[in-house]
Symmetry: C2
Subunit: 139 residues, 2 copies
């Protein structure tokens, strides 16, 4: 397709340089689906090492997808918030949910939720985005 020229500057490649690894996308899934916002929550991620988690969270913050601030409710802890750039990744995570629920055996997708993701994708994305926007005080 002519619309993609030099491949290293291709938007797909540049996107993947930011979030194209399993752990980064699992951290985003935890924020989007589980409401996780603290290191102690993310560390429950499927057998992630604390080193990798620390590096991935730093990369997400450096790339403006998450914000890291002192937690007002617990001054000795940090809290992560999603940004608008992060919210714009919600469709990709939803599509990954959809693909896995359709194509990978043994997945635990909820039948009714899958129906909604299939039939009302845009509505589901809007609901999640608005909820996160409110909870994470995204401007």
């Amino acid at each position: 397709m002519d619309s993609i020229k030099r491949r290293s500057d291709c938007p797909v490649n540049l996107s993947l340089e930011v979030f194209g690894d399993k752990w980064t996308l699992l951290v985003l899934r935890d924020i989007i689906f589980f409401g996780h916002r603290h290191f102690r929550d993310f560390v429950q991620l499927e057998s992630i090492s604390t080193n990798i988690l620390t590096e991935r969270l730093k990369r997400l913050v450096d790339n403006g997808i998450l914000k890291k601030e002192i937690d007002k409710d617990n001054q000795s802890s940090y809290i992560y918030s999603i940004t608008q750039r992060g919210l714009d990744l919600v469709p990709i995570v939803i599509d990954m949910y959809h693909w896995g629920a359709i194509h990978v055996e043994g997945n635990n997708a909820d039948v009714n939720y899958l129906k909604r993701v299939t039939g009302e994708r845009n509505k589901v994305i809007k609901e999640i985005t608005q909820k996160l926007k409110k909870e994470h005080h995204v401007k």
Copy 2:
């Protein structure tokens, strides 16, 4: 969200175990946007090593996302075709294009193509899918 229970069986995690790395998604991008179908084409991928490419192509075939067959036009060469499972990844690659084009500086997205991806996402996905379906003889 209650709809995702045991996390290792979560559809997002299972999807990422299949295609959740940069090289796998770049191979898919090459098929979708550049019409590549041979090892010699994929090897031009951004500084990929032949070992990694071999492993990723094998994984895509093992997971039923690509098919590998002897090329009828050149019996000493293999040709890769996308399957329906692979076609169902087109939306994810399109969304990655969109995110990168909006959020990463220095990307080379074509303004008119980005407009189409933004305003007519479903139509763009349908066009790409139908073209690939025909060219790759997807049943």
